[in-house]
Symmetry: C2
Subunit: 516 residues, 2 copies
């Protein structure tokens, strides 16, 4: 059974991926090295690449190659009674490629160019607007991006609403109805928890900071203990931390140092490293599938579940603070015991900023953004009304009001790049992380890890490699074989819900506020 | 007189330049951020871009557009008696484009791909060979690169020798005969100067070093005083300092800190900044000609003349040391006066390393490489014999012998990337810098700068901006309107020779060794 057509299709995909990864490299450079005035030309480069990518992904040649590979697949497997792993993987690859081809073919190349330009432009105006606290300077660009995205959803012509259509690349198969099922319990319970555990207690957090160099050293120690291999991972600084994969052996992440927030860089490092570990665990390595859909991340919520696991379940855990506090103290932090660091890692104070939010209030930041996105994409919310709606929702859900738009609705980059439908992934990621952690606890116990809290046990003993092994074995290697909810159900034997997350939160809050 | 065809050709060139600058961005990233195991995939990316670039530069569409633009040019200007600046510029652009098209069309696309792969491979093997001091590990890759380049020269089929053909992209119109005319006086005179001024004197340079952070601060101060605008320039670290332009408003440079060589980073910064100033002064800005040949650097020797001017004529001058020594002393350097720094800036000790060489011995490093290149490309020198030939020539010309190949013939990156014909540009750059400086001295005097040494005067008064203005006005803005020798003759009213350089050297050496 020769697989000539399969190989040819693979070569084509490989070249598409080469082109796509060039686009990613330019994005990395833009955020880590490019001088600000390079933005216009960079926009031309990105727009050229977006056009070329779209042309490749919607070309007759691609359609032909895909068609031939399907025929060959039919010939080779059609009569076989046994359904093998290889069969399933190939079948899924072909399905995903067919879906992607149809999507790309429906899009007008002019729209691709317009979008690329509008994104570069939107990003640069958003930067200015945020700097100058002037929402009006960004509003026309946002309005234009919304109209282009609405047009895109129309062209894609899927049996979904506009917002749902745009959310597909991030969260395949997600519907607004399902989102409501998942989020409604949170919208009710999170504010109750906040008022019980935060507003009721007077937490006098001591103000302190750490030298930039010390923060860097702590981050380096963290990644070293978590098994970073510098031959395949690079680290740089950027205004917003992110993680990105530029080749099968080329993983990058960025952090930033925020003055007055000595743990920001450390937690961002943990978070971005979690993203990177997922990418590093995808089936690209063993199966040479960097170019095939199956080798890719299945959804941004699963991605977030991995980053949040390492940030919240590990770095923000009590066990971790008890192990690491002395390094912080050596670096100059005014800490006298592990508990001090644990409290500092979990401030439990609802604030205005999503990125710096704790686990408890984080979800509310997402609910607000999700509701607003759906409103301006589908329900006619005017762009000019976003700031006041934003502030109203913050007052209602978090009890705080931004004093200006820079710390309000201008704080996030996503909308400036026309990324609508992305935000819920962050919160679904919390739910997935919690539910996977429950399964991990069982799994580790079966693997022979002792104690009531096997995750904490591994952290205490500096054997986080056991946590990673479990994730590699149970979660990472599927790639896009399963979508997010299928993956969760496969691993945890239960449908995804908000239960595990709320249980985890309540336990942690109880522990946190009752220990001395 | 509409110039529709001209505009269309411009649009095409613009897109070619977008693609070319993407290639450069990947090169930048490779040297500043990429983890080492990213090399293979990066090679695939660069090879894909090289292929795409070659396809664009040799396409029928390009030929057609060029043809139409020429016709239009004939129609619009053919009957005009007056030869305007615009006429000259357009004519030159068309000539250069025609030449480039013919070159690209003669090259087999397969060769382009093979070369791109061989370059990536050669670079990575060279890194290993140098690390492990094992020339044999690099030798087969070098042999292969030589054969591919020889094949390239054959395909280009120019009325020049193999080495000359390969040197054209760096030094248009250069011949080996002309090279001999320029270099022969140096081959004779430089060793005489070395034995007179260096070997005869016992110069006991004090050993000292500076903290990395202090070196960084000194470099920052330097560039700030030399008018750096951070909105258009970025700085990073790389194993080998370089300067590169990634867009009309996007200039990058790298430096490195070498332990035990406290001035290395500082002088590299001055050098790379000189390159960048030339690029920043090219006519791309005012004429929107980033995409046209005329907006580009005319030759690597002219490029080097600019970097060497800022490194040697300015940063290594007495005036500069007298002004800057106190900052070095504040940073911890054991200096008690300007003269101390001046001596440290000009060690006058022939060594094994080209990059760290002083002005006096630098030329000899180049002579050796040039002779070897011509020998292995044209005269049958076997790759295996390069190390012994290298060492023999070092003994003869510099009186030193490398103790191993890593500090000998493996020290430079150029050959590992198949860049043959590049080295002479460095030395021609010294000659051009010296000859332009003589003209600058006259020019500054006419501009009203007082004193016997107007360049030193400007440096003493921290008005290097006057030097830059002169270079902008007299040198930079020509772009490729004139080739290197034409440019020198235009500015200095004399043909290029080694006289100015030797005169400058002898004066400086005399001054240096006679002052207390």
């Amino acid at each position: 059974m020769p697989d000539i057509a399969w190989q040819k299709l693979g070569d084509y995909l490989q070249e598409t991926q080469v082109l796509g990864s060039i686009h990613s490299t330019l994005y990395w450079d833009q955020n880590t090295s490019m001088p600000i005035n390079g933005a216009k030309w960079r926009g031309d480069q990105l727009s050229f690449l977006a056009r070329s990518l779209h042309a490749r992904q919607s070309s007759e040649r691609f359609e032909e190659l895909l068609h031939e590979a399907k025929d060959e697949f039919q010939r080779n497997y059609g009569l076989k009674p046994l359904v093998s792993k290889e069969f399933n993987e190939k079948k899924r690859n072909l399905e995903l490629l067919t879906q992607e081809l149809h999507r790309q073919k429906r899009l007008d190349p002019d729209l691709i160019t317009q979008l690329a330009t509008a994104q570069t432009n939107g990003y640069s105006l958003w930067q200015q607007a945020r700097r100058e606290n002037d929402f009006q300077c960004f509003a026309p660009a946002l309005r234009y991006l919304i109209s282009l995205r609405q047009e895109q959803a129309k062209q894609l012509d899927e049996p979904r609403s506009c917002w749902e259509t745009l959310a597909q690349p991030f969260e395949p198969d997600l519907t607004i109805q399902r989102l409501n099922e998942l989020f409604t319990p949170l919208r009710k319970r999170l504010p109750e928890l906040i008022s019980k555990y935060c507003l009721a207690k007077d937490i006098n957090q001591q103000k302190w900071d750490l030298e930039e160099k010390s923060q860097q050293d702590l981050c380096e120690r963290l990644l070293q203990e978590w098994g970073r291999n510098p031959q395949v991972t690079s680290i740089a600084r950027s205004p917003h931390p992110f993680s990105i994969t530029l080749g099968p052996q080329d993983f990058r992440l960025t952090t930033r140092v925020v003055r007055g927030q000595p743990l920001s860089c450390f937690l961002a490092t943990a978070h971005e490293w979690g993203h990177s570990l997922y990418e590093q665990g995808l089936p690209s390595q063993s199966h040479q599938w960097f170019a095939w859909p199956l080798g890719q991340a299945t959804s941004m919520a699963v991605h977030e579940s991995q980053s949040l696991f390492w940030e919240n379940r590990v770095a923000r855990s009590r066990a971790f603070s008890y192990r690491f506090w002395k390094y912080f103290a050596e670096a100059g932090a005014p800490l006298t015991c592990g508990h001090d660091l644990w409290r500092a890692m979990n401030p439990l104070t609802p604030g205005l900023n999503r990125v710096e939010a704790d686990e408890l209030s984080y979800g509310l930041h997402i609910l607000i953004r999700t509701e607003l996105e759906i409103a301006f994409l589908e329900e006619g919310l005017e762009v000019n009304d976003i700031p006041s709606e934003w502030n109203k929702k913050y007052k209602e859900l978090l009890g705080v009001v931004p004093s200006n738009d820079s710390e309000g609705c201008l704080q996030d980059v996503h909308w400036s790049e026309g990324s609508f439908g992305y935000f819920p992934s962050y919160l679904i990621g919390h739910l997935i992380s919690a539910q996977l952690s429950e399964a991990m606890i069982e799994g580790l116990a079966n693997d022979g890890v002792q104690g009531e809290d096997p995750i904490g046990e591994c952290i205490t003993n500096a054997s986080e490699s056991k946590l990673l092994s479990w994730l590699r074995r149970e979660v990472h290697h599927y790639g896009r074989q399963l979508n997010a909810e299928q993956l969760v159900e496969k691993v945890t034997k239960k449908p995804l819900s908000s239960r595990a997350f709320l249980t985890y939160l309540e336990n942690k809050l109880e522990q946190m506020t009752s220990t001395p």
